[in-house]
């Protein structure tokens, strides 16, 4: 139950409020999770980010920066946001929810059916984080999103200010499998690769698997990057071999294992197709 609403006027003020009020205090972005029935967030105090002017989308020198308070729908409506990210934004199939849910909020939640994280990781996005340094001063840093994902516990007190995307020099595409468009996703998987050299390298494949978590398919990334897996079928065979799939309402473990492999295969095939066309997506 929320007993205190704190309106921050700057990132520093928001961070200070989190530190000051301690456990049970969280940042309030769009609110679609905090107030939601069955929310994964338990809190007694919220620090509203509404007044922090984090809702801009800008482009400079081919770099797109999306403020963390930009809603899914604002991002969809922006001409600056690359199409591969829009594909993932549409996985949130309720327009009304898209009007409320924010990019930063979705990243922070890191759910096992995350709409955006697989794609942002595959796209090699970077995050701009606000923090309070050891000396108490305000600091910002720009880190790879994979670092944020891999070392999540290091960033629990950080405030996501924005997401940084390079102009599409990479192939990035994703697939999501759910019973209905608004049901929890059984598997959401994204495939990203640098195809500028005519071969797929610097590959990032990330999957959100319901019940198992959000993870990179490192073995497949390596196999594709190194040329070991030259065919999509090779990638499909290896995809998920190290994942402990579980049965749940989204599907059985065997189904998830199969569909992950199929999706990786299809995305790899699309990547090869893009290479043949000489275009990134």
């Amino acid at each position: 139950m929320i007993t205190e609403f704190i309106q921050a006027t700057s990132p520093l003020e928001a961070l200070v409020a989190i530190q000051k009020h301690g456990e049970g205090t969280v940042f309030l972005a769009g609110g679609t999770e905090i107030h939601r029935l069955g929310s994964s967030v338990s809190c007694s105090k919220v620090v509203s980010l509404k007044g922090l002017a984090l809702d801009a989308i800008t482009e400079k020198n081919g770099i797109v920066t999306i403020g963390s308070m930009v809603t899914f729908q604002q991002a969809l409506d922006s001409a600056l946001v690359p199409s591969y990210l829009k594909e993932s934004l549409r996985y949130c199939a309720s327009r009304t929810r898209r009007n409320m849910a924010t990019i930063g909020g979705n990243i922070t939640l890191s759910r096992d059916d995350s709409y955006l994280l697989p794609t942002l990781i595959a796209a090699k996005a970077r995050l701009i984080l606000g923090d309070i340094s050891n000396d108490g001063s305000y600091a910002e840093e720009n880190i790879p999103i994979r670092e944020y994902h891999s070392f999540r516990e290091h960033f629990t007190g950080s405030l996501i200010l924005g997401i940084v995307l390079n102009k599409p020099q990479r192939f990035v595409a994703s697939k999501r499998f759910s019973r209905t468009a608004q049901s929890p996703g059984a598997v959401t998987v994204s495939f990203g690769a640098d195809i500028s050299s005519g071969a797929a390298h610097d590959v990032r494949i990330c999957a959100a698997v319901k019940g198992s978590g959000l993870m990179r398919l490192l073995q497949v990334e390596e196999g594709v990057s190194s040329g070991q897996y030259q065919s999509p079928e090779d990638a499909a065979t290896q995809a998920g071999t190290d994942i402990a799939f579980v049965d749940d309402i989204t599907g059985g473990a065997a189904y998830k294992r199969y569909i992950l492999g199929t999706a990786v295969s299809e995305l790899y095939r699309s990547c090869l197709g893009a290479m043949n066309k000489g275009s990134a997506v």
Partner: protein
């Protein structure tokens, strides 16, 4: 804290708690049409408002977040009684039916048109993606947008809303505004929650965490001593009355196998205690202090587990028969554990509770064994259906109070008179002590045929004399409500090489869960609403229903028919495939036609012998032919993407129009002193337009405009008995009662006019705009004058027409549904590309409402077929107890091409030739889609929902 914002253009300062939602604040400020269907799940959209001109869910937003913002609710749309163009268009399009979130939808469509005056279908779908529409589907929302645009641009409509029927009639068969449409779309007070009085106590329920357990002790002392607690009711202090929550005919063909609270819990979510306190928060706080100890028993969840030789027994109490007790009853009841309670049978239902059999039925015509022996091919297949939820947008809710020392119940119910009877029984009082007022029903679909909240709230009010409100949470809607009985249906079918059926056998094994709600009649409908489609001379069925520990089952739109239809029609298609015959040709070879004597009905009565009748009006062949032409039957479609394979399927369907020989409806129509009319109908309009049907019948007979006729319905003090709105009875029974009452009044008006005018009654006629006309003298007498003079000191009194309708005649609706699907051979995904629902509803009295109900029911059954499933874990806990996880279809799941077509048939017995419309539309999707999937990828899916996982498994892609 104080929130300052602008609401509907006016500055507001509201005092709120930091954790209050925006909806809480708005409702507190009087914007009660910002409703709640999902307990802040952010799904159904009944709580949609605009904040700074952006649609949001008010339940997902803190009030504090709108500081300085512009807030707009649906209350901004109408100007007093003047509705907006969008609101009017929604009524005219027929989409304002149960309407719980109609105001929110009106706000969204208004916002859309303000930002995009010419939206595409995809853009409309996108905006409506946050609105769950269960009753009418979404199809006429597209029409409503078009109508609103036309009204705003030209002041009138140029688009056709719906086909019209019966040229000779003025109101019946014509597109006319639904009589309660304005009230519902504007969000004026309509529903039970709008009737709750300040100071009402709240009731919350303590529910079982176990699927099967004895309550060994329950300690309520600390809870009872808590602040604000009024009473706590448990198995220890509730009436020792066994009853059945199914609102069916009396005596019910269901066992009385529960008390308000039992000493044994039989499903996760079963009632343990009711806590009544002065506020909901205090009631919940007290609930947390109740200490319960359980002796946990092994649960069973499936028919197969229930049938096992050593299966745990779910209902193991004393069997009691009010009539027809078996000779060995004493032996049967020896050593009964008193904690098990009783299972009281009003009459024998072939039960054997010691083996978990709640009810059974058997019947046959001809000689099926001979039929199988004579067949060239015999096929036997088993089909499984899952447990699914009605998901009305308005959850079950009741407000009960005492007035004039009587119990007054404001109910969202399909059966006010059954409700009164059952609550009277529970309370141990007589019916004259209870007044049930049926409010507008925000979605029922069968679940509000059952008395699920009124029994306990009514008793608590009678006990305490306090006003009490009790509303199910959405989770309680899933775990403690009526759901569709899961069934395992085995069909054995014999046919000659040319496709002529020689024998059909159906073995229905139904899972009734913890209580025997509709346990005979729902499974019976799997046979009684399917086998009579076939002209096969040899047919047999066995129906057995088992108790288990799944969440409760009960009535659900379509009753057992969707499951029987899935099994029988899919098996028919499988037989055609096996014989190498076109499935449509085989269907045409075996379906009934007008005049065919339905001998099978003799053994398909609901607890007693049924009546054999001939097939009457029947649009089945027309539906098959038109549907086949529309979908291009026989033409194989191909996709540009080799991974997607396209297939087509269809199903023949039928239902009933009420229960001839069982249902009863009464009505009176009063001529008011100014020549207008007041209808008092016992019927229960669920939002489907029954009140509009009644008004149209009176308008048609009395030749007056519909606004001269008002109606009060479903009020046990002020209307006469009606069995209620279930089994598709509304139009046929309640409508016919109104028609009879109107005709009776017409007779009286003519007789009175003859006296007042000094004319022979035979030369008098009624004519517009509401007068008696003499064809002989040309004189006229207005209804106003006639009524006035009849009510002077020397008159002969108020003119009242009375209508009571019972019948043995059946008015069976028929139809055919066709589907075209695309199936991805790699992922198992299914897309419904085309869905055509063609139905013979006799004369559709409200054609636009009829079409919307067809869309709604068909889309709902598409959801059942492909997505919806109440998944339980190994302990019986429902893992899908919210909309998102359960998987109801939304705009994203709409067929690309969705059409509802009314087949014109005039019925002999229905009012103005009308038959039922809605329930039948739930019967076609499962078999049509299953057959289409087979046509696409060559596998038969014999259990719903047809998930990608099941398809992949059948295709051998996963094990």
């Amino acid at each position: 804290m104080i929130v300052r914002c602008t609401i509907e253009g006016r500055p507001v300062s509201a005092t709120v708690e930091p954790g209050d939602s925006l909806r809480t604040m708005l409702v507190g400020l009087g914007h009660f049409a910002v409703r709640d269907s999902d307990d802040a799940e952010g799904f159904a959209g009944s709580d949609t408002v605009l904040v700074d001109d952006v649609p949001v869910f008010a339940n997902l937003m803190l009030a504090a977040q709108v500081e300085g913002s512009l807030v707009r609710t649906s209350d901004s749309l109408a100007n007093g009684g003047q509705l907006s163009a969008v609101q009017e268009a929604m009524i005219d399009a027929g989409i304002v039916q149960s309407a719980y979130n109609a105001p929110a939808a009106a706000l969204l469509l208004t916002w859309l048109l303000e930002h995009n005056p010419n939206p595409s279908r995809e853009e409309i779908k996108d905006v409506l993606s946050g609105i769950f529409v269960r009753d009418t589907g979404y199809e006429h929302y597209f029409l409503a947008v078009q109508l609103a645009r036309e009204r705003m641009q030209k002041g009138l409509y140029s688009s056709r809303i719906a086909p019209e029927f019966r040229e000779e009639l003025s109101y019946v068969g014509k597109v006319k505004p639904k009589v309660d449409g304005r009230q519902l779309v504007a969000g004026w007070k309509s529903f039970v929650e709008d009737r709750v009085e300040p100071g009402a106590c709240a009731l919350v329920m303590l529910r079982s965490p176990y699927a099967h357990a004895y309550i060994t002790s329950i300690d309520t002392k600390e809870a009872e001593a808590s602040e604000g607690v009024v009473t706590i009711i448990t198995a220890e202090n509730c009436p020792d009355v066994f009853y059945m929550s199914a609102g069916q005919g009396n005596p019910e063909p269901s066992p009385y196998d529960r008390r308000l609270f039992n000493r044994k819990v039989r499903h996760v979510g079963d009632r343990v205690a009711a806590i009544v306190a002065e506020t909901e928060e205090l009631a919940k706080a007290a609930r947390a202090k109740i200490k319960v100890e359980y002796e946990v028993l092994k649960p069973i969840f499936t028919v197969e587990q229930a049938m096992a030789p050593d299966a745990p027994v779910v209902q193991n109490g004393a069997a009691v028969y009010l009539s027809g007790a078996p000779a060995n009853l004493d032996e049967y009841n020896k050593d009964v554990d008193p904690r098990e309670g009783q299972v009281v049978y009003p009459f024998p239902l072939h039960a054997d509770i010691r083996h978990n059999v709640a009810a059974a039925a058997h019947g046959a015509i001809g000689d099926v064994e001979r039929g199988f022996a004579e067949a060239d091919m015999v096929l036997e297949r088993t089909y499984q259906s899952s447990q699914i939820q009605c998901t009305p947008l308005e959850p079950h809710i009741v407000f009960s109070k005492i007035d004039n020392d009587r119990l007054v119940i404001h109910a969202s119910t399909q059966v006010p008179f059954h409700l009164r009877r059952i609550v009277a029984k529970v309370c141990g009082i007589e019916e004259n002590k209870i007044h049930v007022i049926k409010e507008k029903v925000g979605g029922g679909y069968g679940s509000k045929q059952d008395i699920l909240v009124e029994d306990v709230a009514g008793y608590a009010t009678w006990l305490t004399r306090r006003p009490i409100v009790y509303r199910n949470t959405r989770e309680e809607e899933f775990i403690a409500n009526s759901t569709r009985h899961p069934m395992r249906v085995t069909v054995k079918m014999g046919a000659s090489k040319d496709g002529t059926l020689s024998a059909v056998y159906m073995d229905v094994r139904a899972n009734t869960g913890p209580y025997g709600n509709h346990c005979l009649t729902v499974p019976m409908n799997a046979c009684s609403k399917t086998l009579p489609l076939l002209n096969c001379p040899n047919m047999k069925f066995d129906v057995t229903t088992y108790y288990t520990n799944i969440p409760p089952t009960g009535a659900y739109q379509g009753y057992g028919a969707p499951k029987g239809s899935y099994a029988l029609m899919t098996c028919l298609a499988e037989m055609a495939d096996a014989l190498g015959i076109d499935a449509l040709e085989m269907a045409k070879k075996n379906h009934v036609e007008r005049g065919f004597m339905l001998e099978i009905l003799k053994s398909l009565g609901e607890g007693r012998e049924g009546t054999v009748v001939p097939v009457g009006s029947c649009g089945l062949r027309k539906a098959l032919d038109e549907g086949a032409a529309m979908i291009g039957w026989g033409t194989k479609e191909t996709s540009e993407d080799a991974d997607w394979r396209i297939g087509k399927g269809f199903a023949m369907i039928q239902q009933g129009s009420g229960l001839p020989g069982l249902d009863h409806a009464t009505c009176d129509v009063v001529l008011n002193t100014d020549g207008t009319f007041m209808v008092h109908s016992g019927g229960s309009d669920l939002g489907t337009g029954l009140d509009t049907i009644s008004v149209k019948c009176v308008s048609e007979v009395m030749r007056v405009a519909m606004d001269k006729v008002s109606i009060l319905s479903g009020d046990t003090d002020n209307t006469m008995f009606d069995t209620g709105a279930y089994a598709s009875s509304g139009t046929y029974f309640s409508g016919n009662a109104t028609l009879k009452a109107a005709l009776h009044l017409k007779e009286k008006v003519l007789a009175e006019a003859a006296l007042q005018m000094g004319e022979d009654v035979l030369v008098l006629e009624l004519r517009s705009p509401g007068e008696v006309h003499s064809t002989k003298s040309g004189k006229t007498l207005s209804y106003a004058t006639l009524s006035h003079d009849a009510l002077t000191g020397v008159g002969r009194g108020q003119l009242v027409g009375y209508g009571s309708f019972v019948t043995n005649n059946a008015a069976i609706p028929y139809g055919a549904h066709f589907a075209q699907v695309a199936v991805n051979v790699k992922t198992g995904e299914v897309k419904v590309q085309k869905f055509y629902a063609l139905q013979d509803a006799g004369t559709p009295i409200n054609p636009e409402l009829a079409l919307c109900q067809m869309y709604g029911a068909a889309f709902k059954s598409i959801g059942h077929s492909l997505y919806e499933d109440m998944v339980l874990d190994a302990d019986g806990v429902c893992l899908a107890s919210d909309f998102t996880r359960y998987g109801v279809p939304m705009t994203s799941e709409l067929p690309d091409d969705f059409k509802a077509v009314l087949i014109d048939e005039d019925d002999e017995y229905g009012p103005y030739g009308a038959k039922s419309i809605s329930e039948i539309a739930t019967n076609g999707a499962a078999p049509a889609i299953a057959n289409a999937i087979h046509d696409a990828v060559g596998v038969w899916i014999r259990s719903w929902p047809f998930t990608p996982e099941k398809i992949l498994r059948e295709m051998g892609k996963i094990s």
